[in-house]
């Protein structure tokens, strides 16, 4: 918890009483909005690419599974070699 300090108040005054806020260039909001819009478009494109990649992976796996049918292969039986020489 901090309490208002006399010295800090003095410096705050210096910053606030520097004068009125500087004039905002009239096109600043427009430029910022345009850049923000480009950021949004970029994010949207990245999200679309991500979904397409995921979809492609799912399709590729389904096709591979349908062709190879790995679940029909017989389970391995003789996994351990016979133990001899004891």
């Amino acid at each position: 918890m901090s309490f208002p300090d006399r010295k800090e108040t003095e410096v705050r005054r210096m910053m606030e009483l520097e004068g009125p806020h500087p004039a905002l260039p009239p096109d600043l909001a427009g430029r910022a909005a345009e850049r923000g819009h480009r950021i949004l478009l970029r994010h949207r494109a990245l999200r679309t690419i991500g979904w397409l990649l995921l979809l492609a992976a799912v399709v590729a796996f389904a096709v591979w599974a349908a062709i190879v049918e790995p679940w029909t292969a017989p389970p391995p039986t003789d996994t351990t070699p016979p133990l001899e020489g004891w």
Binding site: V11, R12, M14, M15, P22, L28, A29, A32, E34, R35
Partner: protein
């Protein structure tokens, strides 16, 4: 249908954003000018910094979920400035020009924006003690600079004239 809804959302966002910048832009630009250490009347770097921060707020506008856009922009501004602070080491003649970028950042967040020590520390990723120490050091530096200015002949009420005077001595 989807396209219409998106267009409606975009025009609403643009309207709200414009109103927000019209209302808060001046104060944000003042804070950015204090950060970059630029003198009044030459705020090119501060404008660039603020435009980038505002663009991030715009991109986030639909997902702010009740968060104050001013807080978001201020946070973006502080993060951008902290990230690029090495560019602003050179003194440019503004009110806080003599301080280091970190001292300016702490001073603007703590005193100009009135953010609590704990929140400032969390926003900057610094320990609270460090924020307190930097703030104290910056306040001391600012006060001694003001005293020097006053001692050179101008009264405290016309301190601004003295600032422009020192700016002329060291361009």
């Amino acid at each position: 249908m989807v396209r219409e809804r998106r267009a409606a959302r975009e025009s609403r966002r643009a309207r709200e954003f414009e109103a927000f910048v019209a209302g808060a832009g001046g104060r944000l630009l003042h804070a950015a000018t204090l950060l970059t250490g630029e003198p009044r009347g030459d705020t090119a770097a501060a404008e660039r910094l603020l435009t980038t921060a505002l663009a991030r707020t715009y991109a986030r506008w639909d997902r702010l979920r009740g968060e104050d856009p001013y807080d978001h922009t201020r946070r973006a501004l502080a993060a951008l400035f902290a990230h690029r602070s090495h560019r602003y080491r050179r003194p440019r003649g503004g009110l806080l020009a003599r301080l280091t970028p970190q001292e300016r950042l702490v001073l603007v967040l703590r005193l100009y924006e009135g953010i609590a020590e704990e929140q400032t520390a969390a926003a900057l990723g610094l320990p609270v003690e460090r924020v307190r120490a930097v703030c104290t050091r910056a306040v001391t530096a600012m006060r001694s600079a003001a005293r020097r200015r006053d001692a050179t002949g101008t009264s405290p009420s016309t301190g601004r004239r003295a600032t422009t005077g020192t700016a002329k001595v060291a361009p």
